[in-house]
Amino acid sequence: MASKTANQSTVPFADAPINQSLTAADKIELLRQMIRIRRFEQTSLKHYHNGSIGGFLHLYIGQESVAVGSISLLGEHDHVITAYRDHGHALAVGMGMNECMAELFGKATGCSKGKGGSMHYFAPDKNYWGGHGIVGGQTPLGAGLAFGVKYKGLKGCCLCYLGDGAINQGAFHEALNLASLWSLPVIYIIENNGYSMGTSQARSSAFPKEGLAARAEGYNMDWDKIDGVSLYEIRAGVQKAVERAHEHCRPTIIEILTYRHKGHSVADANAEKYRTKEEIQEYMNKHDPIEFWKNTLIAEGVISEDDYKTINKEAGAEADAAAEFAIKSPYPDESEIFDDIYWEVDNNTEAGRSGRHFFHG
């Protein structure tokens, strides 16, 4: 959970070279990205409540700085994979609101043609490998993406995000061992929002007093702990891990303290039972990363309050337009049920034509 308040300074982190290199336009763009994520999700929530969106909707509201700050550091050979709370990362890597919103609506124009839904966004052309629904299940895949980068002799890394609830899954520990043993350029970012669904960190995880990421010591791996309120701090901290991956091909675990304003998913009926209303209000009022960055940029003279309002308004309009796009888009055709299962069948190869691939009851 975050500890800084929205009007505290993070000057030392602002002085980091990676932050010093940011232009005013870059800083505004980071703000715009966070706001776009929030407005996208606020709009999606509205349409979830009116019944247009099915299944689960795990909102990222309150955590936007984590994806935006860390992904802003990446280059051509760097990759991203995350869990089911994936809208923020998707927009941060450059996926469009239209295809992301349409996916929530289950439409053919969705990023996964309506086949994946909220938890399963993918954009391999943007080095974005999902969007994975099973807690911790993506963590070996993150090691594999890093393995692939290294095998090909490229200078790159994989940012693999997971929640604090995922750190107790066996697959994660196996991935950590492999990452360190085989020196893979993977960076595990634990987005610690304090709750493993409805179970607090104190009731779900045993860990050293230094924090969750300190478990890395058991795997001879570097680790760090970052306050997620400040983009400067996130960028300065994650950059060190990216350099470690790029220059030394070594993995890192980073715990980023953050907070989700909403429940585990929209279907989380107890979101205000396992957490007090006061706690939620405290984080919304005093530790909101967008508010914090906005105040930072106003203090730096980069933007005015009016600029902020304009960005917010534009993002809201973009989200509304995306919802309109989604509403107007057609549902997938029933004939698509058997597409995208086997590459060989989709591509009508000899292998795809040999034998029966699909069975009927």
Partner: protein, 331 residues
């Protein structure tokens, strides 16, 4: 020249050729490199190809198979050895959720060209935990392919096709078959210069007219022995159809054989409940009912965990005498 080589050597040849064919092919598994393979399938490959291509994994199936799935998304073609296919169960989420569904959930943007291979058989007195035959379980999952070679020729030809396949292929071998020899052509006598057996094409291993024995993996060998007994002692000419892969399944070959012989027995070392034979007998009933002169029978392993005690475990698995007896009941 055609050569007599073991199933194990045939697999190794196939792996070796694919390592040469594509730089992105790598082998990862427990003891596959320096130890030369727990069952010596990969013997010599580490010495020849080195640390980059042949990698010893820690005992960590969910970790290294998941890692292979991630790497395959970037175009690496990992061949993952499970020392026993029974160990797939500790990697189940990776093998069922991640390998099988990423393509679908990405709307076809991703494919996962991974091979997971290893022995999936009972009959070696290693107890229930090491004797699982999960071909029906994995074949249940659309997006996966399940391949089960029964002889040296197919072991080589199918492993090569599996590695070149752009979908996840689970390749189930047999420790009992590893030492069995078979005729495998050398590359200079094959058109195209290499042995590629297509996945999804069954093979008639023995022509017959009175009855079709439908099998895969080691059960094919059992069926061939039974067919000899049926011919010699009972003048029944049984056809033996080797499925070679469970998914995709060569439905045409099954129906063609059944329409010719009018009788079928599905034989497998799987457990009976929702076994491969259950699927096939249902399809025969639907598509070739009028061609049948008798009910389709199924012979499977006994519906119990693998018994350790050697003489008893033997009784759990299909054997030629049982096949003969059941065949006589419908012929």
């Amino acid at each position: 020249m055609p050569r007599e080589i073991t199933y194990r050597e045939a697999l190794r040849e196939g792996l070796d050729e694919e390592l040469a064919y594509d730089d992105n092919v790598i082998i990862i598994g427990e003891e596959v490199a320096e130890y030369n393979g727990a069952y010596k399938v990969t013997e010599g490959l580490w010495k020849k190809w080195g640390d980059k291509r042949i990698i010893d994994a820690p005992i960590s199936e969910a970790g290294f198979i998941g890692m292979g799935i991630g790497a395959s998304m970037l175009g690496i073609r990992p061949v993952m050895e499970l020392m026993f296919f029974s160990f797939a169960y500790v990697a189940f989420d990776q093998m069922m959720n991640n390998a099988a569904t990423c393509r679908y959930m990405s709307g076809g943007l991703i494919n996962v060209p991974i091979v997971v291979r290893g022995p999936a058989n009972g009959g070696t007195n290693v107890g229930a935990t090491h004797s699982h035959t999960p071909e029906n379980i994995f074949a249940n999952m659309p997006g996966l392919k399940v391949v089960t070679p029964s002889d040296a020729h197919d072991a080589k030809g199918l492993i090569k096709s599996a590695i070149r396949d752009n979908d996840p292929v689970y390749f189930m071998e047999s420790t009992v078959l590893y030492g069995m020899t078979g005729t495998v052509p050398s590359n200079d006598e094959i058109e195209g210069g290499e042995l590629l057996v297509p996945i999804g094409k069954a093979k008639v291993k023995r022509e017959g007219s009175d009855l079709t024995l439908i099998a895969h993996g080691r059960a094919v060998v059992t069926c061939l022995a039974a067919a000899e007994i049926l011919a010699e002692k009972h003048h029944i000419n049984a056809e033996v159809l080797d499925l070679r892969s469970i998914r995709p399944l060569d439905e045409e070959a099954i129906m063609a054989s059944v329409r010719k012989t009018h009788r079928a027995i599905c034989v497998e070392e799987n457990k009976p409940f929702c076994g491969v034979g259950a699927q096939i007998s249902s399809m025969i009933m639907e598509q070739a009912f009028d061609d049948l002169d008798a009910p389709v029978l199924r012979i499977t392993s006994a519906d119990a965990p693998a018994f350790y005690s050697p003489p008893i475990e033997k009784l759990q698995l299909p054997n030629p005498d049982e096949i003969v007896a059941r065949a006589l009941s419908i012929c």
